[in-house]
């Protein structure tokens, strides 16, 4: 997302790195400002009258006028944006129409569920995706390469909410292998003290192994589906990075020296492919946020995605825009993280 390649050479070794990080941070700040502008403008084009949303449609004209002024709707647009900016930056996303609570509080409450789901999913996606990609690269053009390719394309093509429904039908209703929708059975719900809000972590830390098993049985199906989605992307990128590495001269040198083939592949080549892979994993982690909206709806998972769709269906515009903004900010943050990691890990980028 940023121009990491256009670093300046006229600074020394360390200042060059610092300069690059400052540049990345500045561009992130600009992007974030843009995010705010977009959500602000979306909020302005809504056909729903923001005043009516506050006072209800039975209010008298004088109440309407007073709220109109209070909301600052009489001011010019740029001034309204300035006020909006100040509010957001001080951590105020407004109040939810539906829950009557500050949106920041709401999001803080639902966010751990999404974080937990996405983290388990990315673990699954990475653990299976990278070896599959390496396998496909090593056996380029062979049957196993084709199979990995098709498995990936299927992951790209199946609607995730449909896979979720089928998964529930087969593994929950018919085979009884996993627990159904929700995060945990109701009987365990109050036996765990929420510390981090991450069910698996909390239950394991408190030694509640029954609850842990139950929570695991709930999370495994949605996480596996989301993980499959990121596996498709990770394995594909691993394959192309590995192909690029395996064509390099140092690989030939290693072969000539008689290094074992598995060592060449899994140590020499993969270590170099790992640098861009960090970026890929960070990006697909961000992509999971998107998939989680639909997955959470299917699995009644009380996370950010479900909060967003719930607010949408109840025309709670403040909450929708707040959620959109938070997801956008996380997305930008993960992009930033991957840019910084890339800059720090890759000696070539660092030196330039």
């Amino acid at each position: 997302m940023t121009d990491t390649a256009s670093g300046e050479g006229r600074h020394g070794a360390l200042p060059a790195l610092l300069w690059k990080i400052v540049k990345i941070l500045a561009s992130v700040a600009l992007t974030f400002l843009g995010l705010l502008l977009v959500t602000f403008l979306i909020g302005r084009v809504v056909p729903v009258d923001p005043v009516l949303a506050v006072v209800g449609d039975r209010a008298s004209q004088s109440v309407y006028d007073r709220v109109f002024i209070e909301l600052g709707l009489d001011k010019p647009l740029y001034e309204q944006f300035w006020i909006y900016l100040q509010k957001i930056l001080s951590g105020d996303l407004g109040t939810s129409f539906l829950t009557k609570k500050p949106i920041v509080e709401d999001i803080a409450r639902v966010f751990p569920a999404t974080l937990e789901l996405a983290t388990v999913a990315i673990l699954i996606g990475t653990i299976f995706g990278i070896p599959l990609g390496v396998l496909a690269a090593v056996r380029q053009g062979k049957l196993s390469d084709q199979i990995v390719r098709v498995v990936g394309l299927i992951g790209y093509s199946a609607p995730i909410f449909w896979l979720g429904l089928l998964g529930l039908l087969i593994f929950y209703a018919r085979l009884h292998w996993v627990a159904g929708p929700g995060r945990i059975d109701i009987s365990y719900e109050y036996s765990i003290t929420p510390r981090t809000g991450l069910m698996l972590w909390d239950s394991a830390m408190q030694g509640q192994w029954d609850a842990f098993r139950n929570a695991f049985s709930h999370i495994i199906l949605p996480a596996a589906l989301l993980g499959y989605y990121s596996l498709a992307y990770i394995s594909r990128m691993t394959r192309s990075f590995m192909l690029a590495e395996l064509a390099q001269e140092y690989i030939i040198t290693a072969r000539v020296k008689g290094v074992a083939e598995w060592r060449i592949i899994w140590v020499h080549a993969l270590r170099n492919a790992a640098v861009p892979l960090v970026t890929v994993v960070a990006l697909s982690y961000a992509g999971l946020l998107e998939g989680s909206v639909l997955t959470e709806t299917v699995f009644a998972w009380p996370g950010l995605g479900q909060y967003l769709t719930n607010s949408l269906q109840n025309a709670d515009m403040n909450a929708v825009l707040g959620g959109t903004l938070v997801i956008g900010a996380i997305f930008v943050g993960l992009n930033l993280l991957s840019d910084l990691l890339y800059t720090l890990l890759d000696p070539r980028v660092r030196r330039r």
């Binding site: 995010l35 199946a158 609607p159 429904l165 998107e290 909206v293 639909l294």
Partner: protein, 300 residues
């Protein structure tokens, strides 16, 4: 001399023959890719089914049969994919739904591609602050996950198929702009562009007449690769009740409709999902094959 030999000759006699020969070679390479041919087949079937929908569908897609006797029938020879809770034939609904899917894909491509091309080529051709501003805007749009941004737009514009198409188009153009800009950066320094500029051609004319056509093929490949994503986003919006509204036979909305009784009547939600899956797999196979053939870097 057979047509084939004429096309594949090493010494083409005319520019037309050379160009046709090149196209034919690309086509040969494409037909060699079995998955790509499967993809092309699926997409062609989709188009044919969409065009002939009223003649192919055995039943009416909106008005169901007898609510007393024909509700939620399992797949049989009468109803190949069963019937839904309003006694409508699911196969007929899927056949008619192909029109909506095709409409979404076509309209999004028609709206988003020119926007992306215009922004990208303008940024790349002028460079400087124009480039900075335009690419910054592109980055902002790329900073939202696509479905989330589309959700926010539909929430603002109100649910419905037209608004869903607009929202998806608004979220689709940034990657095309990126790509078009990258292509333009290499094209704008070419000699023939200099020559045209020296003849006094206006910048707008150079961009539309000479830069855009050269960017077109790579952008089209990218759009084809994106079509599966567009279908899935539209289906996702439909599933959330924000896309096409009932009783329109949109596939995503049909899945949402069958969701309530998935455990007892699995076919109602499964069949439309299968249709989405097959069609987006087709577009993915096709796009993958096109990229292999048209991307010079991918040649082995």
């Amino acid at each position: 001399m057979s047509t084939r030999e004429w096309l594949l000759t090493e010494q083409p006699a005319s520019r037309r023959q050379a160009r046709l020969g090149q196209t034919y070679r690309t086509w040969l390479a494409f037909t060699h890719n079995r998955l790509a041919m499967v993809g092309l087949g699926i997409v062609l079937v989709l188009v044919v089914v969409a065009v002939l929908a009223p003649w192919l569908a055995p039943y009416d897609p909106i008005v169901g049969g007898s609510l007393r006797t024909e509700r939620l029938l399992a797949p049989s020879w009468q109803h190949l994919m069963g019937t839904d809770d309003q006694a409508r034939d699911i196969l007929s609904r899927i056949i008619h739904g192909s029109r909506i899917t095709l409409l979404v894909v076509a309209l999004v491509a028609v709206i988003a591609t020119p926007i992306g091309l215009l922004v990208g080529t303008t940024a790349g051709y002028y460079g400087g602050w124009v480039d900075t501003v335009l690419m910054r805007i592109t980055d902002i749009f790329l900073a939202f996950p696509r479905l989330i941004l589309a959700l926010a737009f539909v929430a603002a514009l109100g649910p419905g198929i037209e608004n869903a198409i607009i929202a998806i188009a608004i979220t689709s153009w940034p990657p095309y702009a990126r790509l078009a800009r990258a292509e333009t950066l290499t094209i704008r320094t070419a000699d023939h562009i200099d020559a045209i500029r020296l003849q006094g051609a206006h910048s707008a004319r150079i961009i539309w007449g000479h830069v855009v056509p050269l960017c077109l093929s790579s952008v089209i490949v990218r759009v084809t690769l994106d079509m599966a994503g567009i279908i899935l986003t539209a289906a996702g919006l439909g599933f959330l009740g924000l896309g096409a509204q009932p009783p329109q036979p949109e596939w995503g909305a049909m899945i949402a409709g069958g969701r309530r009784f998935i455990l007892d009547h699995w076919w109602v939600a499964t069949m439309p999902g299968l249709a989405i899956f097959v069609v987006s797999l087709g577009f993915n196979f096709l796009g993958d094959g096109l990229r292999d053939v048209l991307d010079p870097k991918a040649h082995k």
